[in-house]
Amino acid sequence: MRQIVSTATNTVPGRFGAYGGRYVPETLMAALEELEHAYAEAQADPVFHAELDLLLGDYAGRPTPLYLAERLTRQLGGASIYLKREDLLHTGAHKINNCLGQGLLARRMGKHRVIAETGAGQHGVATATVCALFGMECVVYMGEDDMRRQELNVYRMRLLGAEVRGVSSGSRTLKDAINEAMRDWVTNVRTTHYLLGSVLGAHPYPTMVRDFHRVIGQEIKQQILEKESRLPTAVLACVGGGSNAIGAFYDFIDEPSVRLIGVEAGGRGPALGSHAARFHGGSPGVLQGTYSYLLQDDAGQVSLTHSVSAGLDYASVGPEHAALHDSGRAEYVSASDEEAMEAAVRLARTEGIVPALESAHAVAECIRLAPKLAPDDILVVNLSGRGDKDMGIMARELHLAGAANAD
């Protein structure tokens, strides 16, 4: 499979080892080049950074706390557990970091219409929020299955003035929403910015979105050094497309003592179609603009996926994660639907924090790992989002409805 990557393409920016690249219809190339150029200019412009930093601070609520979860630590009887509280950000997840950055870029490029895809709805809400703030037209594509299971976020997006367009093709989840967003972009490319919500898609998205989330790992590093005067044993994060994970990992990649652990959605089990664990059953392939690990059949058709969490329910994964996987620098494990649900309940009842079901996958791995480690080990879990949006699913799965407490 690697033969597609010649030495020449390896030198192209946007490659992560063999992965990444720019596999799109020709119509989009001009827009990607324009975006790459605008992003490079913005990166070099102190005014852009000042604007973004101000918004990240006063509007979004950065820096987010690094919280020592003492009761959970004590219960598990091993490593100290810190939670990076991205769930406390405005709109309830890390997604706002990237949306503010790309929103500013769209404004610089003079694009007044913004489109986005969303799975769990957190990226859609963050995009709708930024569009409201900047006075831009906003259209969010969302799979109809996801609209049903993340209904509250649909209402939030509409309240914020965004148009939510349901997608009924394919599995009616994130992948299909991205297909529709790309079709919209191909059609309206001259006036529209595609505010892609993860480290996916064609260059420059995986690099740019990672840069906008790098602040997570930068803060973790500074905060843990202040609190513990040393680096953590491991940083854990859930991996759908992988934006919160790469943001948390990035500033630790050159710190070989720090384990980087990504947690994929194990869903209902290992059969193809029952999970979204790309590193356990996937193989390299091209989907939606990038070359990365992909859940696919032997004819190269993209497989259906399943996860209880809409935000992890995706057949491919950010190309930088594919490179980190192959080099062995990061480890990728999975947590099942059930483990994630249990982890969410445990965190809620131990620490009074209800995580998003996506983030609960990282908590689940932390629960497995912490008891195996020594008390002087430190685990940092990136708590990428809060669980309000998942109340419907949790109420159903955990029998929370009705007059009596069913527990």
Binding site: E26, T27, A30, T187, G300
Partner: protein
Amino acid sequence: MPIEFQRRPGLVIYLTVGDPDLATTRDVALAAIDAGAEVLELGVPFSDPIADGPVIQRASERALAHGTRLDDVLALAAELRALRPSAGLVIFSYFNPVLRFGLERFCRRAPSSGVDGVLITDLTVEEADGYLTEMHHNELLPIFLAAPTSSDIRLKMIASVSEGFVYAISRVGITGKQQNLASDARQLVDRLRRFTQLPIAVGFGISTAEHVAAVSEFADAAVIGTAIVSLIEKAEPGTAPAVIASFLEGLRQGQQTAPAR
């Protein structure tokens, strides 16, 4: 072998292979060639066709529902090549089915299946080094898309690596019908001519004899895709070949009477 257009404009017909089944695709292909199609684009169905509108999306779903694979597309090409030696045969695919099949293996198999050229919708020139090596090695014609949004620098690159013909996308957008041929199309073809002597085919949204006549004024060939796939979708069982033949006879009213070159 080289792709040449004898009429102006030549007609290039896109079919989603396996929609609604392989036998129908074969019969429609033969009928289309006999009705004046000079080149056939044999579309490999894909689960995530990001450049296609709803008509071709539905065709892909139908073809995939009964498991149409790249193997089947190559087998169909071989059959068509045996029955109609002079037709141009182009494989039209998204990249992933070809990658999964194995790029080398595909490029080796395609010529022996009678395939002349290959167009990969989501493979741009920048990512095509390894692909071009294999294509040249196996004497396959690499055909690339040019878009109204492509810069002159990009058009030059596209023209320099394309063989057979260049496919000019008539407008910004996905595949599907339109009322008028966008003025984008003529401008794009004029810009491309500065960089290439190759024939230029115009596609996306061509569905009437008027469109064909308009294309004949500035381009060498017209690609008909969605209009054909839509007729196949609506045709009563068994009637698709006749429907397509009669549709193409209508379109040929838009061709010029004198030979092109």
